[in-house]
């Protein structure tokens, strides 16, 4: 990029700028989205003329309060951020994610990934983007567009946006960008950046496109006085925030995940309404859900992707439970995610300090106060004592910003499900079916991975692969609700959509030359079966093989015949137990941990694979650790609510992990600390 010097745009030439933004090269191609006053707030809307910008308007913001005041002056950017974040344009509140066309026998899914930030689908200008908002866009770039899977709709919208940023000169009391290292100065990621001064604007370009635009306006260079008053205005904003506002100690906030049992979570839960407003207004919150639906007479409609929030009750729900049923768990998750676990996930802060969640919380809950209350006394002192505004270690949003105009997207596009045909369906128990499916071309599944088994108009539950053999793979499904019941009802010849294989699988090669211990409970045996297949196929590569499985009753045992065969093998120790015996059951009764026989294993050199209900995994883990097996040789797979399966919807979070992409297989060193925390 050619460097350009700062130019001066006189106030009465603002219209020329808006005109040039909309029509670079003289043809109208771009919609200009800009701040404008609507319903008592400054929102983002398409504008035709500079006259629609908020002139002489100031905002007053406080916890739970946002008000506009009018002044006599001519300033058009003299306020802080309003309720709309730019994510509305890049990650729209609702968009079609999948379409389904064709009748029963031959219908197929297609990805509908061309959501556009503008009405006409073309290029768009974001005018008035603040430093914290640019940081937030960068954060969402990391979430959506930097892999392993990319939200193509986001990436394409992002590539269409020209960013005309504005330096903050009038921060609100809710702003704390200085704590988060994101503002108030715009330093990168912009095409243009404007600083408002008394008689106009000092404008600099940040990209080649910005340079061209500036040149087309033929603006004079900004003189020394104007340049320094522009600098002073931004410095003044920073000073104002530092002196007058409540800040956050970024490095302390980063440690929020260490206080899962703090009393404050109970206290804040008495005030929080779980209304989701904080997450909806937050410019970095990215959670969504997919609604698979059908309309009477119109058949299957594909899926709509809609903003969701970790404050809703359903967010963490799975068959038979809810990982964050209590409001304290949900509040804790929100703030811990923003300030703490986000770092582990994305090497960035999830909060950019814009203050929206503070002003737009209907009961004025202030994240800064909550962080302070939880981390207070961490050093035996008030973290804000001494010099409150010393440089806050580690509070910088990841520095490599994705350049404006570039299309970020190192990842693989999130694929639509491909249709596959069921070749056989076998009832395992009264409520569980194993489906054999012809592997569709291009689908690659490994042991421990899962697929999203998608039924048009019904749903796309994550289901582990329970066998991989040649041109087929199997899934074993327990009917617990709508989608799983419909899967269980499939017959040979029926079709379903498959996407995957997703997630990290079992590291089967790590067990080579070692004792292998497999512990499965209930349906948890399904993802373990490919491990067994592999180990038995390469039996000579392993020393002892120990298989311990449990079910509620003998009738609930899946793969019963295969397991009975296993028991007869001389080169395998296989034991089964049930919680409750029936008349024909002669085997052990009790929990699966009773079967374990540590004396038989070669202690330290054994490798264990475990899947089952979380409580069973926890007890098994203790027993395996007691037997001297190192935690990084114990592999567990766990369940969470999943909407996307590829790290985009946010639903499957478990502490710092996305179960879908960081797991579902974890080693015990990673997962162990989280197994015991309630509601995480």
């Amino acid at each position: 990029m050619t460097e350009t010097a700062a130019r001066f745009l006189a106030r009465d030439r603002l219209e020329d700028l808006v005109h040039a933004l909309a029509r670079p090269g003289g043809v109208e191609v771009r919609e200009v989205i800009a701040p404008t006053v609507e319903d008592g707030a400054i929102v983002h809307a398409p504008i035709e003329s500079a006259a629609e910008l908020p002139r002489g308007v100031r905002d007053v913001q406080a916890p739970g309060v946002y008000r506009l005041e009018e002044t006599e002056d001519e300033l058009v950017f003299a306020y802080a951020v309003g309720p709309h974040a730019w994510k509305r344009r890049l990650f729209p509140p609702q968009r079609t994610r999948l379409t389904f066309a064709g009748d029963d026998g031959r219908g197929a899914f297609d990805a509908a990934d061309d959501a556009s930030p503008s009405r006409n689908g073309d290029q768009v200008v974001f005018l008035g983007v603040r430093a914290c908002e640019l940081a937030a866009i960068t954060v969402q770039d990391i979430v959506f567009a930097c892999g392993p899977y990319t939200d193509v709709s986001y990436a394409s919208a992002r590539g269409k946006a020209f960013i005309a940023a504005v330096q903050c000169t009038h921060p609100a009391s809710t702003c704390f960008c200085t704590s988060m290292g994101t503002g108030p100065a715009v330093t990168s990621g912009h095409d243009l950046a404007l600083t408002e001064i008394e008689d106009g604007f000092v404008v600099v370009a940040g990209s080649n496109e910005g340079v061209e635009l500036l040149e087309s306006l033929g603006l004079p260079l900004a003189d020394e006085d104007r340049r320094s008053s522009a600098q002073a205005a931004v410095r003044g904003a920073a000073d104002h925030i530092e002196r007058n506002n409540v800040g956050v100690d970024g490095s302390l906030a980063r440690r929020l995940d260490r206080f899962p049992e703090h009393d404050r979570w109970d206290e804040v839960a008495t005030r929080c309404l779980a209304c989701t407003n904080c997450t909806m207004v937050c410019p970095t919150c990215f959670c969504s859900r997919d609604i698979h639906t059908s309309v009477l007479g119109q058949g299957e409609a594909g899926a709509e992707r809609q903003w969701d929030s970790c404050f809703t009750v359903q967010f963490g729900e799975v068959a038979g439970g809810n990982f964050r049923r209590r409001l304290r768990d949900r509040y804790r998750h929100w703030i811990t995610h923003k300030f703490s676990t986000w770092w582990q996930q994305f090497d960035a802060s999830g909060c950019v300090g814009c203050g929206r969640c503070i002003a737009w919380c209907p009961v004025g809950i202030d994240v800064r106060e909550e962080i302070r209350a939880v981390t207070e006394g961490e050093h035996g002192e008030d973290p804000r004592e001494g010099d409150p505004f010393q440089a806050r270690e580690g509070a910088q949003v990841r520095a490599e910003t994705v350049g404006a105009g570039d299309t970020p997207g190192d990842g693989v596009p999130e694929p639509p499900p491909v249709m596959a045909t069921v070749t056989s369906a076998r009832w395992e128990t009264a409520d569980t079916v194993t489906l054999t499916i012809a592997t569709p071309p291009g689908l690659d599944v490994r042991p421990g991975q899962f697929v999203m088994a998608t039924l048009p108009g019904i749903g796309a539950p994550p289901i582990s692969v329970s066998r991989i053999s040649g041109a087929h793979f199997e899934i074993t499904v327990r009917s617990v609700g709508q989608a799983t019941a419909a899967l269980c009802a499939l017959a040979p010849g029926d079709r379903l959509g498959i996407s995957g294989g997703y997630g990290r699988g079992w590291p089967v090669d790590e067990a080579e030359g070692c004792d292998v211990i497999v512990v499965g409970g209930g349906i948890g045996l399904a993802p373990l079966r490919p491990v067994l297949d592999w180990v038995l196929e390469h039996r000579d590569l392993h020393s002892g093989v120990y298989v311990y499985t449990g079910a509620r009753t003998p009738d609930d045992m899946i793969f019963a015949a295969e397991m009975a065969d296993l028991e007869l093998r001389k080169d395998v120790t296989a034991l089964r137990t049930v919680d409750r015996a029936g008349p024909d059951w002669l085997g052990p009764v009790g929990v699966v941990t009773q079967l374990l026989d540590p004396d038989a294993w070669a202690g330290e050199s054994a490798v264990a694979f475990v899947c089952g209900p979380e409580r069973m995994m926890s007890a098994t883990l203790d027993a395996l650790l007691d037997a001297g097996i190192a935690s990084d040789r114990i592999w567990l797979t766990t369940e969470r609510h999943m909407e996307c399966g590829v790290g985009l919807c946010g639903h499957c979070q478990l502490g710092p992990f996305f179960v879908c992409k960081d797991g579902p297989v974890f080693d015990a060193a990673q997962l162990g600390p989280y197994l015991g925390i309630e509601g995480i």
């Binding site: 008592g40 709309h84 309404l273 207004v281």
Partner: protein, 269 residues
């Protein structure tokens, strides 16, 4: 259900017919509905009367007379899936406000010959009398939700009706929050969504038509409203709408009335 289209009935008790009309408002889909369902009983649309049994019975209105209380028991025995529609059927409706009043006084004030009026002392939701299989909330119900329910029945799936606050719809449509931006009182954060957040979009606070959302934290909202200068009388009236009789709104109304009347006996009127 057998292969012939499900037999559907629509009946009403104490209510205004608004919810039944929502069905007739589904103009673009009526043909399809008529094809997919055998509507054997529909007070509003035809004079045809047909006895049960019903595969699906939509019930509008609350129970406010002894006769109605008996009738709903009888209807339940003839019905496979009973769906209550609207705030009256699901929460007792606005007429449930009389549950806080002196019933006899109320009756003689309204009717010339109160002894002929056989109304119960309370207006209660259907679920207080019989088991309900599904409910569509709202005053009136939302056409989209009704269509989703009908589509789900035909597709043999569960209707996608989410338990989440009005605020989500409000934010998704981009409405400026009126609580924060103007200090207006709004029941959105404690009310179940489904209406599409129409009132805040018109600059008015949510009236709570869809009733309390799961885990509604009315304690916190009322504390905030009180701290922002509203009297208990005002707060009580805010919750005393279409779904006043549904907990925890009911407790707010009861408590606010008690406090308000302690402070000023006339405040009850």
């Amino acid at each position: 259900m057998s292969d012939s289209p499900p037999r559907v009935g629509v009946v009403k008790f104490a209510s205004c017919d608004g919810c039944q009309l929502t069905l007739l408002d589904l103009e673009d889909h009526l043909l399809e509905i008529a094809k997919s369902f055998d509507i054997v009983e529909f007070a509003e649309a035809s004079s045809r009367r047909s006895p049960g049994p019903y595969d699906i019975l939509f019930v509008e209105g609350s129970i406010s007379t002894q006769e109605q209380a008996n009738e709903i028991l009888e209807l339940r025995t003839q019905t496979a899936v009973l769906v209550t529609i609207g705030a009256c059927a699901t929460a007792g409706g606005v007429q449930a406000l009389r549950n806080w009043a002196d019933h006899d006084e109320f009756r003689s004030a309204v009717y010339a010959r109160p002894e002929y009026v056989d109304s119960l002392a309370t207006s209660t939701p259907i679920a207080d009398h019989v088991t309900v299989d599904a409910e569509l909330r709202g005053c009136p119900i939302d056409g989209g939700q009704l269509l989703e329910l009908l589509s789900a029945v035909v597709a043999g799936r569960r209707p996608q009706i989410r338990e989440e606050a009005v605020c989500l719809s409000c934010k998704r449509r981009g409405t400026v929050c009126i609580m924060a931006a103007s200090g207006a009182a709004c029941l959105g954060p404690v009310t179940s969504g489904g209406c599409g957040a129409i009132c805040p979009a018109m600059g008015r606070g949510c009236y709570g038509c869809f009733g309390p959302v799961l885990d509604a934290n009315t304690e916190s909202l009322t504390a905030w409203l009180r701290a922002s200068g509203r009297s208990d009388g005002e707060i009580g009236r805010l919750f005393a709408g279409f779904t006043a009789y549904a907990e925890p709104f009911r407790s707010v109304v009861t408590r606010s009335r008690a406090i308000a009347s302690e402070e000023d006996p006339r405040a009850r009127e």
